[in-house]
C-alpha cells in the first residue's frame, strides 16, 4: 500500500486569490523515491509543505487529497499532526538556518527530537544525537554537537538538519534541495546513507532537486513542474533520457550547457 499519495492536489493562495499548484498526483510506496524537478517558483516547496501540513498563512489545499499512511491529512487534528511529524514523515527544507533555533546549540536540538519522539532518556538521547551527527558525515560530531547554528558552515547546517529529520526514523523523508550546500563528495556519502536507509528500513523519499544528475541517481519516478502544472511524469529513465514534453527537453538542454561533461569533453577535443 502507498505510504503517501497525492491525488490532483491544488494549492490556493488566499491573498493573491488564485491557485499556485494545479493538480499534482503521485503515489509513494516503501523504499521508493519520487523526484520533483522544475522551474524556480513552480510550486515544488509548496507541495512539500502541503504534505507536512505547514503551508504558509493564507495558503490552503483547495482541491484533491493527500493521504499519509492511509489517513486523509485534511481530517487530522493539530495533535495528530504533531504525532505524525518526525515519526511518520520527516523533512529537510531549503534555507536550513530558518528551521533551527539560533540561540540553542544544534546537538541538544536533535537530542530533543529523539527524546520526545523515541522516548529515550536524556543521556541516551544525547548519545543518539552524536551518533546521528556522525552518520551524516560530520567530522568531529562531539564538537559539532556543542555549536550554535551561526558557527557552522552552510553544508554543516544542512547535514544537522538531515540528522534531525532522520532522528525519529521516519517512514517518508521529504528532501527539498537537501544536498545543495554540500560538496559533491559529501553529497555522494549522504546519497549512500539514504540508499542504505531505503534498503534497511524501507524509507521512502520525496526528492526536490535542481540537480538532474542527483535525480537520475536517486529517483524511481519523476514529476516535472512548470508554473504549478505537472507537464510530464513517469519513470526516471524515460523522463530524463527520452523526454517528451518540450519543457522537459529545455530543462535537460539547459542543464547540459553547464554540465561538467561538457567541459571535460571540450578538453579531449582540444
Amino acid at each position: 500500500m502507498a505510504l503517501l499519495s497525492l491525488r490532483d492536489v491544488r494549492i490556493h493562495d488566499g491573498v493573491g486569490g488564485r491557485d499556485l499548484v494545479h493538480g499534482v498526483s503521485f503515489e509513494l510506496s516503501p523504499g521508493k523515491v519520487v523526484g520533483i524537478v522544475g522551474e524556480s517558483g513552480s510550486g515544488k516547496t509548496l507541495t512539500c509543505r502541503a504534505v507536512l501540513g505547514i503551508l504558509p498563512e493564507h495558503f490552503r489545499v483547495s482541491g484533491g487529497g493527500i493521504e499519509l499512511d492511509g489517513r486523509d491529512v485534511a481530517t487530522l487534528t493539530r495533535k495528530e499532526w504533531t504525532a505524525l511529524r518526525g515519526g511518520t514523515v520527516g523533512a529537510v527544507f531549503q534555507d536550513p538556518a530558518s528551521y533551527l533555533n539560533p540561540s540553542l546549540r544544534v546537538g541538544p536540538q536533535i537530542a530533543e527530537v529523539v527524546r520526545v519522539k523515541k522516548g529515550l532518556g536524556r543521556r541516551d538521547a544525547r548519545r543518539r544525537a552524536v551518533e546521528l551527527l556522525g552518520a551524516v558525515r560530520l567530522r568531529d560530531p562531539e564538537r559539532v554537537y556543542q555549536r550554535y547554528p551561526h558557527e557552522l558552515s552552510g553544508g554543516m547546517l544542512q547535514r544537522v538538519l538531515i540528522a534531525a529529520a532522520i532522528a525519529a526514523d521516519p517512514r517518508v523523508l521529504i528532501a527539498d534541495e537537501a544536498t545543495t550546500a554540500l560538496d559533491v563528495t559529501v553529497q555522494a556519502e549522504i546519497l549512500d546513507l539514504l540508499a542504505d536507509l531505503r534498503e534497511r528500513t524501507g524509507l521512502a523519499l520525496v526528492v526536490v532537486s535542481h540537480d538532474l544528475a542527483v535525480v537520475a541517481q536517486l529517483c524511481d519516478e519523476v514529476l516535472v513542474l512548470r508554473a504549478g502544472e505537472t507537464v510530464e511524469q513517469g519513470p526516471v529513465e524515460r523522463i530524463l533520457y527520452e523526454p517528451r514534453h518540450e519543457y522537459t527537453r529545455l530543462l535537460i538542454d539547459q542543464h547540459e550547457r553547464y554540465g561538467l561533461d561538457r567541459f571535460r569533453e571540450l578538453d579531449h577535443v582540444a
Binding site: V37, R139, G155, V184, A213, G259
Partner: protein, 272 residues
C-alpha cells in the same frame, strides 16, 4: 589586480579556519573557488568584505589595502558600491521587512543616486534575472528559494561593482535560470569586473571561471587554469572532488573508488 589576498589567516576563537591563503583576481577575470564543506570558502568571502577580521595576512581590494580598515572605512568602501557580496544564505542577507524592489534599490540610494533612476535600474536588473514584476512588491519570506536567490544576485550587481564575491549564487536555481545568471556574470566579467565565484556545482564553475582554486581544511591545495583543474586534478582531494561529481551521462566514482581516495587523503593529511 582588483583583488589580492596574501597569506591570509582567519581564526574563530582558537580554531584556525583559514591558513595562509593567497590568491589574486585581475579585472575581467573570474576565480572559481571549490572545496569541501566547512573548508573556509564563506570565511574567505567574509574576510574580503570585512565581515570577519583576519588574524594575519593582507587583503587589497581595487587598489586599496583594506586589511586594517575600521568599521567606518568599510562602510565608506561599501557605500561606493565598489565591492559587493552575495551571501550563501539569501534569507540571512535580506531584510525580512523590506520589499524586493527596495532591497535591490538600496545600494543605489546609499550611493546617493536619485530615487527615480535607481528604481529604473533596479527593475532592469530584476528583469535580467527573470524576476517577475509582481514579485517586486513582496517580502523575502513570500518568495520561493530560487526567487530569493535571484534577488540577492540582482542586489549585488546593481551598482556595477568592480569586485564581486558570490557565495553559492546559483545553488537554488533551475537549469534555465542558472544559465541566465551565469551568462549575466560572464557579461559583467567581460566588462571588466573581477569575480570570485564560490560553488559546489563544478559544471557552473568550469563554465564561468578562468582559474579555479581548491580549498581543503582551510588551505588552498591546488590552483590553476579551470580546464586543467577539472580535467587533470593533481591533489588527492581535488581528484576525489572532481571524481565524485555525478553527471547525467556518466556515473560518478563508486563507493569503493571514493573510499580509496579518502584513504589516500588520510595518509597525506591536510594542507601544511
Amino acid at each position: 589586480m582588483s583583488l589580492e589576498v596574501s597569506d591570509l589567516d582567519v581564526h574563530y576563537g582558537r580554531t584556525r579556519a583559514l591558513r595562509r591563503v593567497s590568491l589574486s583576481v585581475a579585472p575581467g577575470q573570474t576565480l572559481g573557488v571549490i572545496g569541501e564543506t566547512g573548508s573556509g570558502k564563506s570565511t574567505l568571502a567574509r574576510a574580503v568584505v570585512g565581515l570577519v577580521r583576519p588574524s594575519a595576512g593582507r587583503i587589497t581590494v581595487d587598489g586599496e589595502e583594506v586589511t586594517r580598515y575600521r568599521a567606518r572605512q568599510w562602510r565608506a568602501l561599501r557605500r561606493r558600491g565598489v565591492v559587493q557580496y552575495v551571501f550563501q544564505d539569501p534569507l540571512r542577507s535580506l531584510d525580512p521587512d523590506v520589499t524586493v524592489e527596495d532591497s535591490i534599490v538600496e545600494p543605489l540610494l546609499i550611493q546617493g543616486r536619485p530615487r527615480r533612476e535607481a528604481a529604473d535600474r533596479a527593475r532592469r536588473l530584476a528583469a535580467r534575472v527573470h524576476l517577475d514584476e509582481e514579485l517586486l512588491s513582496r517580502l523575502p519570506g513570500e518568495l520561493s528559494g530560487g526567487q530569493r536567490q535571484r534577488v540577492t544576485v540582482a542586489r549585488a550587481l546593481v551598482t556595477d561593482p568592480r569586485v564581486v564575491i558570490l557565495d553559492e549564487p546559483v545553488s537554488a536555481l533551475d537549469a534555465a535560470n542558472r544559465v541566465r545568471a551565469l551568462e549575466l556574470l560572464k557579461q559583467l566579467r567581460d566588462a571588466g569586473t573581477a569575480l570570485v565565484f564560490i560553488s559546489h556545482d563544478l559544471g557552473s564553475v568550469a563554465g564561468v571561471a578562468d582559474r579555479i582554486a581548491v580549498l581543503y581544511q582551510g588551505g588552498i591545495v591546488e590552483e590553476g587554469p579551470a580546464r586543467t583543474v577539472v580535467n587533470a586534478p593533481r591533489h588527492p582531494y581535488a581528484r576525489l572532488l572532481v571524481g565524485s561529481a555525478p553527471t547525467l551521462r556518466s556515473a560518478a566514482a563508486d563507493r569503493a573508488q571514493r573510499e580509496e581516495l579518502r584513504e589516500l587523503l588520510q595518509n597525506i593529511g591536510g594542507p601544511a
